[in-house]
């Protein structure tokens, strides 16, 4: 037990002296959050803007559009509507013969067209109308805010929760005789590698949790983006993300004979790629994958964390959380077991 604590202290000090660790684990996630906020803040808070329509002041259907509260009418009597269309000051122009002129397609243009069509269609229907038929509301609306951009932040949190991968690679590299001098000494000394490996895992786990905590506090209090409502499941998922990351790092570190740098690049590439698939670079990628290959979303560990984070915190849906937790646990156990198989009884021809 004493040696475990001693090893934990040594490895902890070692990690903080490692500039790579300090940057990738502590600083990089916060830098990414700043970039995300800079890029996406304008898109996070949607406000419905009215649809801008141009027409002459004597247009006969002017009053119909004026009655609808989602239209703003611009009276253009000098015929200078082309520039205003090109400058996006108006979404469409209705001439005195009820023709619609637009500069591009879009939802707003389609809405103007449909309202115009409704006038023509009502005439075509040719039935007696008392006047209040079109004021009836047949719809019970259930509002659900759509903001897939939140996915990006959840995906970032999921990605950095797996950043224990670097500490995992580092821990294994230290005990491998072909990669470090300490490893050579350990292999010729009567020390148990498992002790060191356990200490490495504990330190990596604690430090990465610390880094995750810093990121969450930064997002919550500095960027002022509220992402969490349900803390128990959130913390379990983030903790399991850490465990998975470390296990993957230990696996990468033990499964091949590449240099430490190459293993680190492999770690970055794998986490970045899995995060990309889960929507880190834009939620549309996640949408494409969910549509064409939904199984990827269910087995991609970062997607599991991302999906469950938004489900439990924004949608209040915990139904897939247990499944996700079990899959992450299974991955971690499998990776650690395979790493153990790679690491045990390793011998070297010469050191």
């Amino acid at each position: 037990m004493n040696s475990l604590i001693r090893n934990c202290i040594y490895l902890g000090k070692n990690a903080f002296r490692d500039r790579d660790f300090v940057f990738w684990t502590l600083a990089y996630p916060i830098i990414m959050a700043i970039f995300f906020n800079a890029a996406f803040s304008g898109m996070m808070n949607l406000n419905m803007d009215n649809i801008q329509i141009g027409m002459t002041s004597h247009n006969q259907i002017r009053y119909i559009f004026e009655e609808m509260d989602f239209f703003d009418i611009h009276l253009i009597d000098n015929g200078n509507y082309v520039d205003r269309l090109h400058n996006d000051e108006i979404h469409g122009y209705i001439d005195d013969d009820f023709n619609l002129i637009v500069s591009k397609s879009g939802v707003r243009q389609t809405i103007i067209k449909e309202v115009l069509e409704q006038i023509k269609q009502t005439i075509k229907l040719n039935r007696p109308i008392s006047g209040n038929e079109f004021s009836v509301n047949y719809i019970s609306n259930r509002n659900q805010k759509a903001n897939s951009l939140f996915i990006i932040f959840y995906s970032l949190i999921a990605m950095v929760s797996t950043y224990g991968i670097f500490a995992g690679i580092e821990t294994v590299s230290i005990i491998q005789a072909n990669l470090s001098y300490v490893g050579i000494r350990m292999n010729v000394a009567p020390l148990k590698k498992i002790n060191f490996l356990m200490a490495g895992t504990i330190v990596a786990f604690l430090l990465n949790i610390l880094s995750n905590g810093m990121l969450l506090l930064f997002i919550n209090f500095i960027l002022k983006i509220e992402l969490f409502e349900e803390y128990v499941y959130t913390l379990i998922l983030i903790a399991l993300g850490n465990l998975f990351g470390i296990a993957l790092g230990v696996f990468i570190g033990s499964s091949n004979k590449k240099s430490f740098n190459v293993k680190t690049v492999m770690g970055i590439a794998i986490t970045l790629f899995l995060s990309f698939l889960s929507g880190l670079m834009g939620p549309w990628i996640k949408a494409i994958i969910d549509k064409n290959a939904p199984i990827i979303g269910r087995i991609n560990p970062i997607s599991i964390i991302t999906n469950n984070l938004y489900r439990i915190n924004i949608l209040g849906n915990k139904s897939s959380a247990i499944e996700g937790i079990l899959i992450l646990l299974l991955y971690s156990i499998l990776l650690l077991f395979m790493s153990y198989v790679f690491l045990r009884r390793k011998s070297y021809d010469s050191l």
């Binding site: 890029a39 619609l100 659900q144």
Partner: protein
């Protein structure tokens, strides 16, 4: 050419670091190219993604369903509130319509008859509300003797309005291909910066190892020749990387080359590559530490991509963000890719700005290099 040969040899040792970026990029490009087939291309009515659950199965509900399906794209959904809310949240569906049992009676009584899940803040919600309310109002107007005259409703709904689209000069007809090429080349801006700084930086850090440096200093190799071979090596890696991306675009979407301004993209990418190479030169002269190089590569490439419009379009970025972005060549690179031009002269200012940045990076790099030699 010993130095040049070894430069390439060391670069080859880092092949996986380079290839991983490139492979991931191409996977993304292929995913995007499959998606591009489904995007709106020219002026047509915007079709929303709508899910419908019909529990009534009456003539009226079927009629409504048919009408909504004719105006929109149908997405699969199911009667599960959590599932529907997730579809709306993720923007997989713009709206999900539930037609409950007892629908017909509610329509006749002019009550709330259908449940629609949408985001009220988006114009898409107005569009789907309009379509549903219009159909049901028309149906109710035709209601008499216990039946709806849906044939009349359908016939009236066939009346349409002609829409005139004002032409924009020089705009391509194939927006799909233009979108793909713009996104593809915008993303190369990110990958090129990341690959140049990390790959060339890692190779350079091996050359500037203090032992190697000392051996070089006592060798008969002239410093000028040594530097020239190093720069030639950098140029080789840079050219191969850039060429891979240009060829990649031809392989993936070669059949559309005639429909987009391909020369614009290629010239712009080459000019940007020069600026990125000079930025790499500057980074290599500021630090020779591998860890710092990895960190700078990640922060600069991702950071400039986010603020310059590579990942998020420039039009949705804030003014302050764009102001900062103007201090990086990526901003001008993206501006060119996003623009429609009639000739290469139209983009001379943006190309000039990128070259100006290249010159500035080179000069600052030389100052650092001189300082480092004196130290």
């Amino acid at each position: 050419m010993t130095v040049y040969r070894y430069f390439n040899k060391i670069a080859w040792n880092y092949k996986w670091a380079i290839l991983m970026y490139i492979i991931i990029f191409f996977i993304i490009a292929v995913i995007n190219s499959t998606d591009s087939d489904e995007r709106e291309v020219s002026f047509t009515e915007t079709k929303l993604n709508v899910g419908i659950v019909d529990k009534e199965n009456s003539q009226l509900s079927k009629g409504l369903r048919k009408y909504i399906e004719s105006k929109n794209n149908v997405v699969d959904t199911r009667e599960d509130e959590s599932f529907i809310r997730e579809q709306i949240f993720l923007e997989i569906a713009d709206a999900v319509i539930i037609i409950p049992e007892g629908f017909d009676d509610k329509v006749i009584n002019k009550e709330e008859s259908v449940i629609i899940y949408t985001d009220e803040r988006k114009p898409q919600s107005i569009q789907i509300h309009n379509q549903v309310n219009k159909y049901l109002s028309f149906a109710n107007i035709t209601y008499g003797d216990g039946v709806f005259d849906l044939e009349d409703v359908d016939s009236a709904l066939k009346e349409t309005v002609e829409v005139d689209v004002i032409d924009k000069v020089g705009k391509s007809n194939n927006n799909k291909a233009v979108d793909w090429f713009r996104n593809y080349f915008n993303y190369t801006g990110y990958i090129i910066l990341a690959v140049y700084i990390s790959a060339i930086g890692l190779v350079m850090s091996d050359f500037t190892d203090s032992n190697i440096e000392m051996r070089r200093k006592i060798s008969s190799k002239r410093f000028l020749h040594y530097n020239m071979e190093i720069y030639l090596g950098q140029l080789t890696i840079a050219s191969i990387t850039t060429l891979i991306f240009i060829l990649g675009s031809i392989i993936l979407m070669g059949k559309y080359l005639g429909e987009v301004q391909f020369a614009k993209y290629v010239v712009n990418l080459i000019v940007f590559s020069v600026a990125a190479l000079c930025l790499t030169f500057l980074v290599n002269n500021i630090t020779r530490n591998k860890y710092a190089i990895n960190a700078i590569s990640a922060v600069l490439s991702l950071g400039t991509s986010f603020i310059s419009g590579i990942i998020v379009p420039q039009e949705v970025l804030g003014e302050k963000v764009l102001m900062v972005a103007k201090f990086f060549p990526s901003y001008y690179f993206v501006r060119v890719n996003d623009r429609t031009i009639s000739s290469l002269l139209d983009i001379r200012n943006e190309l000039f700005m990128q070259l100006l940045f290249a010159a500035a990076f080179l000069l600052i790099g030389l100052i650092f290099s001189k300082k480092a030699r004196r130290a």
